[in-house]
């Protein structure tokens, strides 16, 4: 299959390109940019007039809910959501049921995800057995089965000796470790940021120190063990400052933030909206402003959806009892564009955080339209928009605090390895 994408505005942040150029795809790869290679005869021509042509998005955290939570979502439903959102690669955290702590589970997941319409799936293996924080998983075996990194989703390792040994062991093989900074005790009954909103609503609070204390532990252990560390879902200005300072002191550390924390604060809990019950909690407006600036300046490496489909039954309960999480695969691009517009950033800078920068964190040669790269491509209408409704979401999870909002950008077409996985709403 040879495809010519013509008349589009080509944006490739990895190469700093923003020009009107055609893209030529052959054998699942980018064959050429600009002029057709010698002898290229397109089987299909896609007219991208008025559209942006960019690398397919890379989402550093999307829960597919398999195995174990098929009543919340399935691979089929969530892969349809990914394609509709222009997402062509995604990392999935290990908090499935059972957790991704055995090579067989990972192989099964990789096998199930092998479909031309499905985004590339990069499992993050469990760092400890059952995420229980006691015994190490067979990381090398899990790596061979397809895990690209190891982590704990948002379950903290309570025993710091176990944590240090897990980091040492991962560092032996140079496996990256992805951890969320979350103290196991501070705010353990908490459901919202410990501040004015939680006080007003009578919700048990989670202080910022629950993040910074755990972050401090992880950063020191990362320095001592030399492990490649990635901090997932930072939520506060204080945590960002610590990461910037750690880098200045020579620690190699990357981090990401979710679309929810980029756009919302604890005030968006409103009248106990259970969709705003998230882990980590939405913090206050100053934290959000710091995260937005940090992502713009590159202090935060990547933006992810933290896609977490939750069934209605688990959300139709009082705020504190509601299962945390929000659906997001289909909102990643629109919320990237919204942020870019509000911060007056170039599309090159903004899209980098969900393409080449995310690929760098993932350690994969993806997120670019360089000749020879995999033809994972997203075509979107930057002047279009979507209204977020239960009906419009392809994800089985209808849970998002952005429900009812109109967001900028509309994906027209998604190509995965040169295969059209999504086109004009399907």
């Amino acid at each position: 299959m040879k495809i010519q994408i013509k008349n589009g505005r080509l944006i490739d942040p990895a190469n700093g390109i923003d020009v009107q150029k055609d893209v030529f795809v052959a054998a699942g790869r980018i064959a050429a940019i600009g002029a057709a290679p010698a002898g290229f005869v397109a089987n299909r021509v896609i007219d991208a007039t008025g559209l942006v042509v960019c690398p397919g998005l890379i989402d550093l955290s999307a829960r597919l809910r398999e195995p174990g939570f098929e009543y919340k979502a399935t691979l089929e439903s969530e892969m349809a959501a990914a394609a509709a959102g222009g997402v062509t690669s995604l990392a999935c955290p290990p908090d499935t049921d059972p957790p991704l702590d055995e090579p067989g589970l990972v192989e099964m997941l990789k096998h199930r995800a092998r479909h031309p319409n499905f985004a590339h799936v990069y499992p993050v293996g469990a760092l400890t057995l059952g995420l229980a924080g006691e015994r190490l998983t067979e990381m090398a075996e899990l790596h061979e089965a397809g895990c690209v990194a190891f982590g704990q989703a948002h379950v903290p390792v309570v025993d710091t000796q176990v944590l240090m040994r897990a980091l040492q062991y991962a560092a032996t093989f140079d496996f990256p470790v992805w951890l969320q900074a979350r103290d196991p005790f501070l705010g353990k009954d908490g459901v919202a940021h410990d501040g004015e909103v939680a006080t007003r609503l009578g919700l048990p609070g989670i202080p910022v120190s629950a993040e910074t204390i755990a972050l401090s532990t992880v950063l020191q252990l990362a320095r001592d063990t030399g492990v490649r560390i990635h901090i997932t879902r930072i939520s506060s200005a204080a945590a960002l400052e610590m990461i910037v300072a750690a880098r200045a002191s020579g620690i190699v550390v990357t981090c990401d933030v979710s679309i929810n924390h980029l756009h919302l604060s604890d005030a968006d809990i409103g009248y106990f909206d259970p969709h705003a019950h998230l882990v980590p909690p939405l913090r206050d407006r100053r934290d959000r402003e710091a995260l937005r600036r940090g992502l713009a300046e590159g202090a935060i490496d990547a933006l992810c959806s933290d896609h977490t489909p939750v069934d209605d039954d688990a959300k139709q309960v009082p705020f504190g009892e509601a299962e945390p999480g929000a659906t997001g695969l289909e909102l990643l691009l629109p919320l990237t564009l919204k942020w870019a517009g509000e911060m007056q950033l170039s599309l090159n800078t903004a899209l980098a955080r969900v393409t080449c920068d995310a690929a760098r964190v993932l350690g994969m040669p993806a997120g670019t339209l360089s000749a020879g790269a995999a033809a994972d491509i997203c075509l979107f209408d930057p002047r279009g928009s979507i209204r977020v409704t239960r009906e419009s979401l392809k994800s089985q999870g209808k849970n998002t605090p952005f429900l009812g909002l109109e967001l900028p950008g509309r994906v027209r077409c998604t190509l995965i390895e040169g295969h059209v996985a999504f086109e004009n709403g399907r």
Binding site: T199, R200, P318
Partner: protein, 319 residues
Amino acid sequence: MRNPQLTKNGELQHLLTIDGLPREILAAILDTAAPFTEVAEREVKKLPLLRGKSVFNLFFENSTRTRTTFEIAAKRLSADVINLNISTSSTAKGETLLDTVDNLCAMQADMFVVRHASSGAPFLMAQHLAAMGLEHIHVINAGDGRHAHPTQGLLDMYTIRHYKQDFTGLVVAIVGDVLHSRVARSQIHALTTLGVPEVRVIGPKTLIPTDVGKLGVRVFHDMRAGLKDVDVVMMLRLQNERMQGALLPSPQEFFKYYGLTADKLACARPDVIVMHPGPMNRGVEIDSAVADGPHAVILPQVTFGIAVRMAVMSMLAGN
């Protein structure tokens, strides 16, 4: 976002929290409560306002006292009252809060009085009723988690107005476990809305919520300093389980530093009134000599509470 407890016309549809209610509505509830106090002195202590209406007392958390006051209020208004004590164990068996609500709606409920351990549960009910097109069914929050206990806050305001007439020159102190107290939160919002110029909260740092100053109160950790020249002292109940989570060392030490004794009360104005939402822990947060002393208005609070709840129920039923 529209305040879910008000109708499109700004009338009270549900009573979920005092936070965000306009001063006029608070004043109207207190004004309406006044004529209801007189009903208790009649031969027939009943009014026909809620005749033929079904009021469901939905208590997911046990509280005989609060349930009883709502029951009396509803019965004095001639409503049919159905009490449901739903322990958390039966909800753990599978039926959710909203399943229960749907079931009772099918039994033609007109009003729910709900007590729940989770903050926000009555909001969930009100939002659900709106989504089901059942706006004619009213919800009264009888205490949700740490969030709100609006009728308690209102009856406290009624009591203060009864003894002090005017709110605008008062200094009021709320003492004890503010962190876990839905009563304190409702009191704070009611007092600030009604124009009390100085509201203080007094307690150890473990029991004072983060950023409570942003609700418009002054924080004191020294009780004598906090009680200086106050007109009203509102004591809070201290739950015994607070000793477990390392919030306090012992009831004895709490009593020594934050228990209300005649000695500490002497720092307040000579005509100070002392209030308590009950049930009291004598010797923990309040000394018997004060609880039974001349400044205490704790029993009148209970009496006024029925009139205030009658007023709230009547106003909701009429809107």
